[in-house]
């Protein structure tokens, strides 16, 4: 399973853009990159997934360089409600449904006024 490394914590202010980088040097050819968000006392919530280049949805953007050894989750104009833990997962779900996705310790983002 591909191991991921993320900063333990990050601080930001409302209205700023936040970029959280995840390192995954041993990513496999079939692995996808997925990001989840978790608020205290809640289950994680899916944010975005990608394989290469750039992916954008209504919540965030995901930038993946050509070598795929890292990825960056970009949150535009954060608000206080974006304070949460963000998990970078690398892996795949095989044909039997097995979740080869490992949740690391995540990045704790604190957004201040």
């Amino acid at each position: 399973l591909a191991k991921t490394t993320q900063p333990i914590s990050m601080d930001s202010y409302e209205g700023q853009e936040v970029n959280i980088t995840c390192s995954h040097n041993n990513i496999a050819t079939n692995d996808y990159i997925t990001w989840y968000q978790q608020f205290p006392s809640q289950g994680p919530r899916f944010i975005i997934q990608g394989y290469k280049t750039k992916v954008t949805n209504e919540v965030a953007s995901l930038f993946i360089p050509a070598d795929r050894k890292s990825s960056t989750l970009s949150l535009p104009r954060v608000s206080l409600s974006d304070t949460a833990v963000y998990y970078c997962l690398v892996g795949d779900i095989d044909g039997t449904g097995f979740q080869k996705l490992v949740f690391g310790t995540g990045t704790r983002l604190l957004v201040s006024p």
Partner: protein
């Protein structure tokens, strides 16, 4: 549409006691998962199911059993609870997609969690 619900929300057990955690989803999802999350840690997969009547082991299955008698329900059992099983337990479900892994292929819907303490 309630999504994924978990029962109970909190529970305290003594060592050696048994209990069952219930997960229910109303989204007609085929895949269901049980995770545990220890303080300050990420989630670890305990067991999962790819459909009614099926179960399979995840990363940390020891000490747990599961059953999926109905498509909408996934039960997690602890036969003889141990302090090491003190954790927050999350259930998740997913609608399997065929073919290209685009869009929200990896999206799992999580329940609110069950906080279990074993003394």
């Amino acid at each position: 549409n309630a999504g994924v619900t978990q029962t109970p929300k909190f529970r305290v057990l003594k060592t050696g006691q048994s209990m069952t955690l219930l997960c229910a989803q109303d989204m007609n999802h085929e895949y269901m998962y049980w995770y545990r999350q220890d303080p300050g840690m990420g989630l670890r997969l305990i067991h999962y199911s790819v459909g009614e009547g099926t179960t399979a082991k995840g990363e940390v299955p020891d000490g747990y059993n599961v059953s999926r008698l109905k498509k909408q329900n996934f039960l997690l059992g602890l036969e003889s609870a141990a302090p090491s099983q003190t954790s927050v337990y999350f259930c998740a479900s997913r609608l399997p997609s065929q073919g290209v892994r685009t869009g929200n292929y990896y999206e799992q819907y999580f329940g609110p969690g069950t906080r279990l303490t074993v003394t």
